[in-house]
């Protein structure tokens, strides 16, 4: 038998070993160095991750009434390179989406991913799904709804198409409301269908917390309706109303006119000013409502006896300026109570001169001027209060009657709430608490407080303010059977673009009731009303709101408070 050629066998062996070595080397490359990449590619082919959007929390009023809720919706998207017939696709989608075909067609042009429509109703989405259009898909998202439409819109704010709060409480409590989205990873077949027994991992989404506001929806509606009527009757540019509980700082209602519907916020895209919650963002010169601070300083610091009478002409000259009362009158002898009741500018200047600039400045600051209230609302203004060292010759007299400084309506409402609350300032708040997934209410901590004036001063000021409504400029705010304490304000508006004051006014009335045991503080302000005086334009608005508040909040009349010492009338 012939022996096989050993040389060939060796060559074959070496060849086989080399081939085997190559395979081993390639295996090492694939299994070791490229393993993570290939594993990832494998997962990408088999596993399909998808976001599980978290349910955004609701916003509720103080009684649990729904103010904002998120519902299921779908984004309609297109992978443009997969669309075979663009015109046909556009013509099929357009009537379902209630848009013109050319609008859809414009979104189908080009390549890559694009949204065709955002946040469409699930029923509309189902109609699109049944068409089985190539390249057209649906993404689960949620859409924010505000069941009461424009009610409290500037307070609530709104949510963008990406589910992020863009203004108001929606923005302030974004983190809390949004929750945490989850993820589902599922093994799918080559056609993208889930494999029943395949891998499925779910990270459950965590729903956002519900935010319970301090507002009363029913009261808010009546406040907004009354404000809209007052703006119309007085042919004003706009208006603001705040209703506060002085003891807790709870904002029961906050209305701004004109308003908008957050369900359709895009329609007001060209007018973002209407989104603003002017009650907390815009600073205005307060006018005569500020006299309550000047008077408080005088009483608290015992600057003069309360029976003291000041000689009050109808006008005086300070430097180059002439300052006068709203109406010409003969020179009168007035007590502090009379000055507040009659809202005499000259009288309060005389009081301020007794008090002095440093003390007045210190109390303005203690009442919260020049800094935000701490509400935390997006865009909250701090107003403008110059340091006393920067005050000019006319600063003390003008600030005494509320010109030359600026405050937000909320800051001013908080001043009156301080008097109503026995001299203790309470930080206003809009949120009572939050409700998490376990359904338990986590209450907001009690509002921070600070003593500003003594209870004695608050009592005396209350008597003066009640007197202002009974016999003074605030008579239009009277409510039979209830004693109202309040103050009118008529502030000239400065020019927006140059120094000096225009002939336009902000009319206001801020007060509380019942005077002896205040349950509610109401600040009513009208911007540029035809009838400029606070007593004529804003006090009736206050009265209308107060009447409803009495019923809604079941406010009892309370005992009458006496007149201030040595009141003239």
């Amino acid at each position: 038998m012939k022996r096989p050629p050993i040389g060939r066998l060796l060559v074959l062996l070496v060849g086989m070993l080399a081939g085997l070595g190559g395979i081993v080397a390639r295996l090492a490359v694939l299994q070791v160095s490229k393993a993570p990449e290939l594993r990832s590619l494998g997962y990408d082919q088999r596993l399909h991750p998808s976001d599980l959007p978290a349910q955004r929390g609701r916003i509720l009023d103080r009684n649990g009434e729904l103010l904002a809720i998120s519902l299921e919706a779908r984004d309609v998207y297109v992978r443009r390179e997969l669309v075979a017939d663009r015109t046909g696709t556009a013509e099929e989608l357009a009537p379902i989406l209630d848009v013109k075909p050319r609008e859809v067609l414009s979104r189908l042009r080009g390549s890559g991913f694009a949204f065709v429509a955002r946040q469409v109703d699930p029923r509309v989405a189902q109609r699109i799904r049944t068409l089985e259009l190539p390249g057209v898909g649906l993404l689960p998202v949620s859409k924010r709804y505000y069941p009461a439409g424009p009610l409290a819109s500037q307070v609530l704010g709104f949510v963008g198409v990406d589910g992020i709060g863009l203004d108001g409480l929606e923005l302030q409590y974004q983190d809390m409301l949004a929750g945490r989205s989850g993820e589902e990873i599922q093994e799918v077949d080559p056609a993208g269908r889930p494999i029943a027994m395949g891998l499925r991992e779910v990270v459950e989404p965590r729903s956002g917390a519900d935010v319970w506001t301090t507002m009363d929806m029913q009261l808010q509606y009546r406040v907004e309706a009354a404000l809209a009527r007052a703006v119309e009757v007085n042919r004003a540019k706009g208006g603001t109303v705040i209703v506060l509980d002085p003891a807790t700082g709870d904002i029961l209602s906050m209305a701004v006119y004109p308003t908008f519907d957050p369900n359709r916020f895009a329609e007001w895209a060209d007018d973002p000013d209407v989104w603003k919650n002017r009650a907390v963002t815009d600073a205005v010169e307060p006018g005569s409502v500020n006299k309550v601070i000047t008077a408080s300083v005088a009483v608290e610091e015992r600057a003069f006896p309360l029976e003291q009478r000041f000689t009050v002409p109808w006008r005086i000259r300070i430097g180059n300026s002439v300052i006068h009362d709203s109406h010409e009158h003969p020179t009168e002898r007035m007590t502090l109570g009379d000055i507040v009741a009659q809202s005499s500018n000259i009288g309060i200047i005389k009081v301020a001169e007794e008090v002095g600039a440093p003390l007045l400045s210190r109390y303005l600051s203690r009442f919260g001027f020049g800094r935000t209230t701490g509400l935390g609302f997006p865009g909250e203004g701090s107003g403008l209060l110059l340091p006393v060292d920067d005050w000019s010759l006319t600063s003390l007299p003008t600030i005494a009657f509320g010109q030359g400084i600026s405050v937000t309506p909320l800051q001013m409402a908080a001043v009156f709430a301080t008097i109503a609350n026995g001299g203790t300032w309470v930080q206003p708040r809009l949120v009572r608490g939050t409700v998490g997934e376990n359904g338990a209410l986590v209450g907001s901590p009690p509002s921070p407080t600070r003593r500003v004036v003594s209870p004695r001063t608050a009592r005396i000021l209350t008597r003066m303010l009640a007197y202002a409504v009974e016999e003074g400029t605030g008579q239009s705010a009277q409510i039979p059977g209830y004693q109202v304490a309040g103050k009118t304000g008529t502030a000239r508006k400065p020019y927006p673009d140059r120094p000096g004051y225009s002939r336009r006014y902000v009319a206001s009335f801020i007060g509380f009731l019942p005077a002896s045991r205040p349950r509610v503080v109401i600040a009513a302000m009208l911007d540029e009303p035809e009838t400029v005086y606070g007593g004529l334009a804003a006090a009736p608005l206050f009265r209308e709101i107060a009447r409803y508040a009495i019923h809604r909040l079941e406010i009892e009349p309370g005992d009458p408070v006496p007149r201030p010492p040595s009141a003239q009338r």
Binding site: P147, A148, L151, P194, M197, H551, E554
Partner: protein, 115 residues
């Protein structure tokens, strides 16, 4: 050659047949067991798949019902919103009472002995 009484089969041959019979029996038994196991596994697998489908269907139902609840909640809130009620009432000829036309009466605790 005269036939004699049949001689018994060789011992080894007989035991080989028996062994073959045993082998066939064992193979049938094994086949049956394996078939049953396969059927059991396939059935179990089918049941699990069915349960999985059912679970997914239930999850979808739960999700749909939750969504429906929210939608109904929204519907109730929208229909009972003060603005809509006021509009509805106005359309039906109702109007808000004027000042002093509504009096709230607080009913206190009953007093007296009741005799």
């Amino acid at each position: 050659m005269p036939e004699g009484p049949s001689s018994p089969l060789p011992k080894g041959k007989l035991s080989g047949r028996r062994r073959n019979r045993h082998h066939v029996g064992f193979a049938v038994l094994l086949g049956t067991i394996l078939t049953l196991m396969v059927i059991a596994i396939v059935t179990l697998n089918a049941l699990l798949a069915q349960a999985s489908f059912r679970l997914q269907e239930l999850e979808r139902t739960i999700s749909g019902l939750s969504e429906r609840q929210l939608a109904l909640e929204y519907g109730v809130a929208r229909l009972s919103s003060p603005g809509r009620l006021a509009e509805w009432a106005s359309d039906h000829g109702m109007e808000l009472p004027g000042p002093g036309q509504v009096h709230l009466l607080r009913v206190g605790e009953a007093r007296g002995s009741g005799e």
